[in-house]
Symmetry: C2
Subunit: 373 residues, 2 copies
Amino acid sequence: MKIKCEKSEFLNGLQTVAKAISTKNTIYALSGILLFVENNELIFRATNIEMAIEYRQKEVTVLEQGSIVVPGRYILEIAKKLPDEMLELASEGYTFFIRYGNSEITVNGLDRDQFPDFPEIEGNYKGVMPLFRFSGDIKEVIVAAGTDESRPLFTGVLFEIDGEELSFVATDTHRLALRKSGWLNKGDEGKIAVIVPNKILQEIVRQEANDDALLEIVIGENEISFKCENKVYISRLIEGKFPNYHQVIPADDRVCSVVEVNASYLLSTLERAFILSRELVREHIGRVSISLVNELMSVDSRSPEVGHIHEEIPVVQQGEDISLIFNARYLLDILRVIETENIIMRFTGVNTPLVLMRKDDDRYLYLALPLKG
Amino acid sequence: MKIKCEKSEFLNGLQTVAKAISTKNTIYALSGILLFVENNELIFRATNIEMAIEYRQKEVTVLEQGSIVVPGRYILEIAKKLPDEMLELASEGYTFFIRYGNSEITVNGLDRDQFPDFPEIEGNYKGVMPLFRFSGDIKEVIVAAGTDESRPLFTGVLFEIDGEELSFVATDTHRLALRKSGWLNKGDEGKIAVIVPNKILQEIVRQEANDDALLEIVIGENEISFKCENKVYISRLIEGKFPNYHQVIPADDRVCSVVEVNASYLLSTLERAFILSRELVREHIGRVSISLVNELMSVDSRSPEVGHIHEEIPVVQQGEDISLIFNARYLLDILRVIETENIIMRFTGVNTPLVLMRKDDDRYLYLALPLKG
């Protein structure tokens, strides 16, 4: 192959697909990026066993057709340092050339045959939603997911589909987030639920796109694909049955107190309290007490070695006074991503979940269990 | 003590002195910051065995005199997270209080008696120079210094004083930087040479100050002090005899080729070449070849596994063609800090130093030895 393209276009493509490069070197080709020309576009592909990403770059000048697999990590590092000018990218046999000015970089590559085929996902469940809404929904939910790879069920987000309804749920068993959303259903009208790995979702929400970009979602037998503009993201689904989360969400009649509090103020208070709690033994890190007395919320954290923090935040309170012990991290995680001025906290008891909601949006909730006193 | 001061003022003071906090906890008080009130100023001090820093904050409201030693690391972390408002800082016995709104942070402190006295440096050699010039000079020199603590001589900068002349020299024995500077001598007119640890110099060049700020330097028996605006930096001097560097600098008649090259272009080229060289065995990392042929400088780097980079940079050349092997890091370090458009490279042979100079300033030079071919 031989093409001309701008450095920025080359770098964009590499950066988009790079997260799907395998870091385990069991199959050498999977640590590479496949580059090939098709319909006057330069196509970038990377895949590991879990996920695959494709990027299509239109604005290139094709001088010769062809393909090559290049070492992903090196090409990306080198591309970041290339001068901002027009590049000639060429392959001859298993060698890849980057030329600019009077300079030439020669990189050892692999034949395309050694690179796995890219799956084409077919499925009866499919639909479309604006990317910016999808990204906002996922960011608010994914914070409740777990990171423990030995419990894969909890390292993903549940997509629960019922016609035009699409809900996202994540939990690490200590806290849970639920966003009721929707999509334009373009497939079957029935119900389905699948668990999508966090890794692919993090890549999708990170991407830059036009404000009106649409995300096409297709759910296959064992895989899911997301298409947006010139990018395709494919991931395996996580196998297993997601726990019945409905029974965890407290009914309205279980709520004993409701407060409205400024989200950024509560965030700063908890960040300060968290610093002192870090001096505690490992299982107590993050331990803070939250008390509600007469329209004042007090946050306390104490380290015998360092000292004590006591903060008071004025709140709008309905219901009884209450005091409980909390892991500050559970609240910090959501307060750092939720984009809203005031949040509603619904207390249900000292050993039962605290529910956080947005003020004007009852289709989102985040709940977390208090610690034992 | 009891004072009122803005959060930003409190944080500035802590951040300025924090680098002198001891991270080795052999003497607990040295991991602390001494706070005390004197002449309506709040004074911050930190010291470890090597260096000491003082910061004086004028704009505080003093309600009660007093002093306390607070745990440095915690206070700094907490202060960063405090709300941007007026704080009340108070000490009662060995307890320190930070109050704001209805909130209070209580931190266990120590008595001032446990904190070492701050040395007052006296010396016959002293002088003044603009801080911005001192910082510029030191940045260009310190890149050549070593980091190996077992060879302390090379982890400092030589200050060589002769009346109004003040030269700065650093070397790690593979490369050397020399800046001939000057100061307004306010002490003895004789010659003296002392070695100042990099750590204190890095703190001084990092500080923010007014454009016209002056730096007062006093050289004592075993210590040196730097005063600038409301800050004082004190450091032990490094003992030992700095090598005679004059004999390392090639005489003009040893120079076989001189080239003028764009500094940022050479920097980018070497950064790309360095990526490939990283795949080599440890002692060859950074290994690049630089050749000068007929007004073209070629830079080559080769990794048998990954590939090869060949770049050509047009240069203005005087003298013979030459080709040598270089550690790219030695050139990258200086090219990243030197603020000049074009640099002059003076080649003296394949096994003898390469000298880099600024184009319009013969009072600075940086030299480095080639690698064995």
